[in-house]
């Protein structure tokens, strides 16, 4: 019992320290680092929500990026065409993404195993295609530009890099706490049970389908929220935000960080975002570098950074 409390306390402290660092960072670092961190935080929310599915429920949803994009486009369209306020845009993004998740889930949950992977990816690609081809609504290849930063009426200038960073950080911390609680709640533990043994859960009285379905919707809602924040961050949304590359990148973030841990996907989001952006400064071949990251992660580090750390920890203990 004591061992559990201690490791839990240690995790809390580590998390608290990380959040502390995130809060204190901006003044110290140059502007472009702050901008990258803002982007990382947004992606981290998506990655955490995807980990809920992949790591906690064993639902290998490859198409999660589509719900991120739906959130982003909803916000972009509403803000540029109907000039709605932040609150409306946020709720609409989450609503649309959750709604889409609900519809898509009815189809995808009819499949199991590798079919599920295939179908989630195919549906996400269809959603991408829709966003790409529905030019009158989404601007097609050109996307939607000049999305203004939210006007919160609090006298905050969200065009300022640092101020906007804190704005995003606030939402990130809220999401972190919510997902943290969710994972420890009875519902969250049920998802873990489903991951470990679906058949056992069924004979223990759990409506496995319903739990999975709810997990999909919740994850979709978080992705939509992140998409909403992204649209304000980037001030531009385009089909590139929902294409195959983007969907796979979210999966990579979860894997390289360590699936099934809460921290892992966050690390993954930061790693990949910084990698892509910093490498592209030095070489045009950043996609090739990214390709190597995919290959090396798949071959040597499937359990991610957290997994590797755990392995070194136990090795140290045995020695």
């Amino acid at each position: 019992m004591l061992k559990r409390l201690e490791s839990r306390k240690r995790k809390f402290l580590a998390l608290g320290a990380a959040v502390g660092v995130l809060v204190l960072l901006p003044p110290i670092f140059p502007k472009y680092v702050v901008i990258l961190m803002t982007q990382s935080l947004v992606y981290a929310i998506v990655a955490m929500s995807l980990d809920l599915l992949i790591g906690y429920t064993n639902l290998k949803s490859l198409g999660h990026g589509a719900f991120f994009a739906i959130g982003a486009y909803t916000s972009a369209i509403l803000v540029t065409k109907l000039h709605v306020g932040f609150g409306v845009s946020l709720l609409s993004s989450m609503g649309m993404a959750a709604g889409a998740s609900a519809l898509v889930g009815l189809l995808t949950l009819r499949a199991a195993g590798i079919y599920f992977l295939l179908i989630t990816l195919a549906i996400a690609m269809c959603i991408w295609g829709l966003l790409y081809r529905w030019v009158s609504l989404t601007g097609g290849d050109n996307g939607i530009m000049d999305i203004p930063r939210p006007n919160l009426g609090l006298g905050l200038d969200l065009l300022d890099t640092v101020t906007f960073y804190y704005f995003i950080l606030f939402f990130f911390v809220v999401c972190l706490i919510l997902i943290f609680l969710l994972v420890r709640s009875p519902f969250g533990r049920t998802l873990v049970g489903i991951r470990d043994s679906e058949s056992r859960m069924k004979v223990l009285g759990f409506n496995v389908w319903l739990h999975k379905y709810l997990a999909l919707i919740i994850a979709g809602a978080f992705a939509g929220l992140a998409g909403n924040l992204y649209s304000y961050y980037n001030r531009f949304v385009g089909p590139g935000d929902s294409d195959l590359m983007q969907c796979m990148e979210f999966v990579l973030m979860v894997s390289i960080g360590g699936q099934g841990t809460l921290i892992g996907p966050n690390i993954g989001a930061f790693l990949i975002t910084f990698l892509k952006n910093m490498v592209s400064v030095y070489t045009k071949r950043y996609l090739m570098i990214l390709a190597f990251v995919y290959i090396l992660t798949a071959k040597y580090a499937p359990e991610g950074v957290i997994g590797l750390l755990k392995r070194f920890q136990t090795r140290g203990k045995l020695a």
């Binding site: 709640s185 009875p186 533990r189 049970g193 859960m201 069924k202 004979v203 223990l204 009285g205 919740i218």
Partner: protein, 256 residues
């Protein structure tokens, strides 16, 4: 648990012409079964006789091709698996099916919340629900494994895992319990412990067990049903079955 009341003597479990076909293969053929309340029924038969398939039909993991299943008169043939648990059906698996990454106590707590509505609760940590940990602790005590509370399930010995298997099923207070080869893979000493454990289960529970080990089956059961190639081959008291030469025949050459 909503069980119909009224008729004086009602079978705990009744299967009528139960059939399961997989493509061209008939795994379970027109099985008729009637188990009385509180009875201990052993289902035996050579490999491939359809015993585990029968259990999967009764517990709802496979849909039936034809026939019906009733618990205390209530037709559960088309009731989804998780709802059958709510109606009082419990089951263990032949291949140990614990939650490997969870501790023993967490395994049992998971089983405990299976029948509760709060399993959809998303904010309050599960660890604060003391009553489930108490109940889990109770069941652990009753099977004598209290010291293993914090062990991670996959680190337990095989015999211990098999015992936790049964504890998981017991937590939901089943009225009908399906034990799928409880002594499978156990050393003789562990088998004895397991047999003792089964003996000491609440006599009000109706128990069906699949057993490959004839000695265990003959010891524990009130009545034995022999399956062969998907159908009921013979049925009777342990003595009758032990002396049934046809039963001995179908076994020779298939025992490990």
């Amino acid at each position: 648990m909503n069980l119909p009341i009224g008729e004086a003597v009602r079978s705990a479990l009744e299967c009528e012409s139960l059939t399961k076909r997989f493509g061209g293969l008939e795994a379970v053929k027109e099985v008729n079964l009637r188990v009385d309340a509180g009875e201990r029924r052993a289902i035996i038969g050579p490999n491939g006789a359809g015993k585990t398939t029968l259990f999967s039909l009764i517990s709802g993991l496979y849909p039936v091709t034809s026939g019906s299943i009733r618990i205390f008169g209530q037709d559960i043939t088309h009731v989804p698996s998780h709802r059958r648990t709510h109606l009082g059906l419990g089951r263990t698996f032949q291949i140990t099916n614990l939650f490997p990454t969870l501790s023993v106590i967490d395994n049992l707590v998971m089983a405990a919340i299976g029948l509760k509505g709060m399993k959809f609760q998303m904010v309050r940590p599960l660890s604060t629900y003391g009553e489930f940990y108490d109940r889990a602790g109770e069941v652990l005590e009753s099977v004598g494994m209290a010291e293993k509370r914090w062990e991670v399930a996959k680190n337990l010995s095989y015999g211990e895992q098999r015992q936790i298997e049964i504890s998981l099923a017991l937590i939901s207070n089943p009225v009908v319990l399906l034990l799928d080869e409880p002594t499978a893979g156990l050393s003789p000493a562990d088998s004895v412990m397991m047999t003792e454990m089964i003996h000491h289960l609440d006599p009000k529970i109706t128990i069906l067990l699949i057993e490959h080990n004839m000695d265990v089956a003959l010891q524990v059961a009130d009545r034995i049903t022999v399956l062969h190639q998907g159908g009921v081959f013979a049925e009777g008291s342990p003595t009758e079955i032990r002396n049934n030469t046809r039963v001995q025949e179908i076994y020779f050459g298939t025992e490990d």
